[in-house]
Symmetry: C2
């Protein structure tokens, strides 16, 4: 099969501001972050606060490059290595993170969110509303090594 895999250029739409200054495996559930959106895009945030939860796609700018093919899930070396696409490791071929967070407040071009697992200075690529039924799966199967603590 003769396939070309195109190159793609993005420009960040925003930047994360929070107290997390270095990569960590810490649970981000309580962390409050601000996302400063490019002010030329402020109008595109209208109506977002009708949703309790939003999806953040962000660029994991400190990820290991080139990405490994296999990783120990959550960096735990006592576990077998897994294919990196079967994990949520930040070190992946295109290091895009996806987090579903609670939207606490929108003021102009600034979003205040809770539960974002990204560090201070992380570039944000996209913001989407979380839609129950579209983004969630009722009847799904995940292996025990991955199920949320």
């Amino acid at each position: 099969m003769d396939i070309t895999f195109p190159e793609i250029n993005l420009k960040a739409i925003g930047i994360v501001r929070n107290e997390i200054k270095e990569p960590t495996h810490q649970d981000s559930g309580d962390i409050v972050s601000e996302i400063i959106i490019d002010s030329s895009l402020t109008k595109a945030l209208d109506n977002l606060d009708e949703f309790s939860h939003i999806i953040i796609l962000y660029w994991i700018h400190l990820s290991r490059r080139p990405a490994p093919m296999k990783v120990h899930p959550r960096g735990n070396k006592e576990r077998a290595q897994m294919g990196v696409f079967a994990t949520r490791s930040p070190s992946r071929p295109n290091p895009i993170g996806k987090a579903t967070v609670r939207l606490l407040e929108r003021k102009g071009n600034i979003l205040k969110v809770q539960g974002l697992d990204a560090i201070d200075g992380t570039p944000v690529l996209d913001i989407k509303p979380y839609i129950p039924g579209y983004d969630s799966v009722e009847d799904c199967r995940a292996p025990s090594w991955m199920v949320k603590r």
Copy 2:
């Protein structure tokens, strides 16, 4: 505030193959697609088939550029316009799509999935396992104009 929003360069890791040749608002629930992954990344797919559902991030290569700030949800002009970040419109500043799909089969570097709302030839940026509890929200609120049909 003096912030720079960095430019970011990606390379697609895969390409969608299916029967959808043009953009559509059609429900994609039954559509079966193949995702051909760059064969240099085949090992990174190991263990993925331990999950029933996976998340696909893809590049909506035919989206309208530059993106509008406001759109009619699902293209329905009888509805008021909303900020584009409050919708799942394909025309967005960085047109990255996110779909949660059923993984039917993995054979080498080819994934067969059900429910992907991307057309034939769409570049794929990342593949992640769907993790209940991390990717789903129990107690969420979404406006009636957005709740899934």
